[in-house]
Symmetry: C2
Subunit: 540 residues, 2 copies
């Protein structure tokens, strides 16, 4: 590769001279703007199937010494990076929580970088600060539906905050539970609170052996990071075994009581609204009551499912969410915003003061600087993407999209149910479902005693893994896989295909093509012949 | 505003139909691409000077009900948001750590959103995973300069990690010190480690009253968030009073010893390489030795100053950084990458395993999924921006930029020194400096006893505040202000102008114009007349 001149003049041009309209970058931009689907089909070629092959292009840790020409570098990016990335726009890639994005985000991304604001403080963000506050207010309203006077008082209040904008759901969950921890172990008489005195001193002051967080075993892995970083410890993550994919209120109460009887204090119950693996929703209303009875915080992780609140028809699936002390929602999931738009919302605008920090040159007392109550410091203006989406889609637009996704998931579930060689493993509550290949000859498998069927089940697990990999490597479509407990198999952990129906471009014929492809792949395997040859014993 | 149709067809078009070339968004894009400086000058009008005025445009918390046309929304964005944002590109805005960005980032931003990868796992990021690992490896190499065999072994190793890519320096600092905490209080015999057992149990097991973190009082406010969230508590943030803007090694040793003699354990010393307020660098080499003597972790917060390592001439200012256990660098500062590119680098690739987390459907044991050792979960592909910048600038390109910034800061310092009505308060170590307006009649102020001069000093503080505000509101240029201890005034806390010379577009004539403007503003004030009328007593 030829090297660009090492001179200040050359560098100055990189800052001041626009890309030529014939440059590679300008062409990339035009192609994206004209037809993103075509750009991706043309450039995401995935010829290299193994990660090790791809790594060869990213092998050196040497810092490049001399400058490269922008266009030559852009060619290299297309060849090494774009060619081996994932086509999240494709309607047949239904294994991810990211999907096609609307066109306007391409332009907004450019505007965002052109402005390059820093939302940590007003001085470097100006109008972006009220914009972010308003966006958080709208999301708060979507969940908590307070009256006008409430929002008038708190939306732009320097001493209160309706939520925290975050890079993603993990930081949102951590932020919410950090607030919860600091509330529970706050200042009390002469005790200055956990934020100042530390966790060990707080346990001593309040007389707690430990504090803990409870969720079903379908709770997101970010909760494990949360109890680690907050100093609570994973031993105090009360993961309730939930073969139904839902945290049962009665069990939650029993587990919480038992925990507290041992001298511990339950910090929070985390209800999930849309589990990552199956899209199930915990019984939020009942769990809110349990939290009240146990005297603990109630957090709802609605990173995936929160957008369901836009739908009149399905909003009730999240009934009780308005009782949560805090809620996590990711706009980069069902709100079709690019990666990087998590939010933690707080019912009580005073609560986030439990993590308020001030500094001299920034975040001065009484200022409206957003950085005073966020975990992150310098942050970009992603809130603009959420703000624009809320306006361009509107509640009714989102409603149409959400309803379509859920209805399409039902349709796909029916297709699977009707197919002799597939088995639906978890029916869709929202727009996720799981299933597997299971030859029609084995239709009665679920009636067999566990131990007798175990070798067949192992083979089915292995079939799922192998078909999923081969389909992924073929590169035409993508379905993910996971291992979950299946209620109808007495809670046995089973390997399943997992799909997320969120891409508005996905049609029924895409879905039936995906099933066809999976069956075709299976039929090339010896394992499939073995499985179809099995004769199940008659069951009385 | 007219409302768009509420129909799936309309929404489908938002996902599939490109913006028309005459649309507002397309025009915004073209204008940015053709001349970003002109776009910003034309649209960032800042007519509304007060935040309260701006808030009126972001007042409602109601979720918009019906969809809006994209172009109409874009007009509103220009009018309400862009018009009242901050022109970070302008060469006369020298009060921020963000500056003009090179043109190629505009195109990359669009590509990033077009691809919309999620770096939490390989399945949703593919080539972006080795790209991010390589980028972290290059930055590791910049600091630690290990041999080829080292990078060959660790760069793409599933069980090790050279660093963590983060949304910013705060998350990077937190990540580094989270790793440090979990290392210090790790598994030991039957004790399973703090990540599992929690902090209170860890203190009991190891027999520590408390653990603490030490830095100078110029340490970044993110350290205060760190000790809070990690459960250490702000009482255990040992903030060493440092009127020289630097943490003295001798003092650090004494403070650390005294802390440990009380039954506590010092977790980490944080050396700063480029303080936010004055750009000072702590004596890293000596502090590394102190950390060794105290048996604690040594972290270097080089969020700002890290890029100095690209310069042969100035690299030595950070001597000793290679002894740090962990280092924070923000590429969105002196590497001219858009907001959102922080990194924590670890000297020992095994260390990040102290915060390793696994989950079933993701981050499987033995996988190279990046999410297993990052605090964040879902993340975008910002690493591409850093990777591209490393190639397009190269080490030698960055060197020119860094050298130019530091030399320009020296030039500006000389201009201030030579000006009878200005006083240099902290000379530039890197590319930051602080100064104030001080009429020539008061040139001997620093020789006066503190108490006699106190009323004059208060007036000077107030002058700085008022001139800074008025200059900001005039909107032609921006210098920030802060309060710091000044060595030559016996460590008295003083209000100063703060500038960051990092924008490659800033010239000497911009700088002299800024001084002229400040003096002009001052001369309109009664306070200035009062100050110039003062006759200092003769000092023996």
């Amino acid at each position: 590769m030829s090297k660009a001149e090492v001179s200040l003049d050359h560098l100055f041009r990189v800052f001041t001279k626009p890309e030529h309209t014939d440059s590679t970058l300008a062409k990339i931009e035009r192609h994206l703007s004209d037809n993103i689907s075509d750009f991706l089909s043309q450039h995401v070629v995935t010829k290299k199937t193994s990660l090790e092959e791809i790594e060869k292009d990213f092998f050196s840790a040497a810092v490049p010494d001399s400058p490269e020409f922008v266009s030559e570098h852009a060619e290299a990016l297309l060849d090494k990076l774009v060619a081996h990335s994932v086509n999240t726009y494709a309607p047949t890639f239904i294994g991810h929580m990211t999907s096609a994005l609307p066109y306007f985000h391409l332009s907004l991304a450019k505007l965002l970088v052109g402005l390059n604001q820093n939302l940590v403080k007003i001085e470097t963000s100006k109008a972006f600060t009220p914009l972010e506050r308003q966006t958080l207010g709208m999301m708060h309203n979507l969940i908590y539906q307070q009256n006008d006077a409430f929002y008038e008082e708190y939306l732009h209040n320097a001493n209160h905050s309706l939520g925290a904008f975050c890079s993603g759901g993990t930081i949102a969950n951590i932020t919410a539970l950090w607030v919860a921890r600091n509330q529970l172990l706050g200042p009390d008489g002469k005790f200055p609170g956990v934020a100042k005195a530390g966790l060990a001193a707080a346990y001593r002051h309040y007389g707690y052996e430990n504090i803990g967080i409870m969720s079903s075993n379908r709770g997101h892995y970010s909760l494990s990071k949360t109890v680690d970083i907050l100093g609570i410890g994973r031993d105090n993550m009360l993961t309730v075994h939930s073969p139904s994919q839902q945290l049962e209120a009665e069990k939650a109460l029993a587990v919480g009581k038992a925990y507290q009887e041992q001298g511990n204090k339950l910090l929070a119950i985390v209800g999930v609204a849309g589990t990552t693996e199956t899209g199930h929703v915990d019984p939020l209303d009942e769990l809110a009551d349990v939290a009240k009875e146990l005297g603990c915080w109630f957090h709802v992780d609605a990173a995936w499912g929160g957008a369901t609140l836009f739908s009149e028809a399905y909003r009730s699936k999240l009934a009780g969410i308005e009782k949560a002390d805090s809620v996590t929602i990711d706009a980069h999931k069902q709100m079709y915003v690019p990666m990087g738009a998590g939010m933690a919302l707080f019912k009580d605008p005073r609560h986030s003061n439990a993590v308020r920090h001030h500094a001299q040159y920034i975040l001065r007392q009484g200022s409206k600087d957003l950085g005073a109550t966020t975990l992150e410091g310098s942050r970009n203006g992603m809130a603009m993407m959420v703000y624009s989406s809320l306006h361009i889609f509107g509640r009714r637009g989102y409603e149409l999209l959400i309803d379509k996704s859920i209805e399409q998931a039902k349709t796909f579930a029916a297709m699977i149910d009707a197919h002799p060689d597939f088995e639906l493993m978890t029916a869709p509550i929202l727009s996720l479902l799981t299933y597997r290949l299971r030859p029609s000859a084995l239709a009665k498998l679920e009636d067999m005693p566990c131990d007798e069927a175990s070798s067949i089940k192992k083979k089915l697990d292995s079939l799922t893994v192998r078909v999923q990999k081969q389909q992924r490597e073929a590169g035409r479509s993508f379905v993910s896989r996971t291992r979950i407990e299946i209620a109808k198999y007495q809670g046995e952990t089973t390997t399943v295909f997992r799909v997320v129906l969120a891409n508005p471009l996905t049609t029924e014929s895409h879905l039936s093509a995906i099933l066809d492809e999976q069956l075709e792949i299976a039929k090339t395997m010896k394992l499939w012949s073995e499985l179809t040859a099995i004769v199940l014993p008659k069951i009385a």
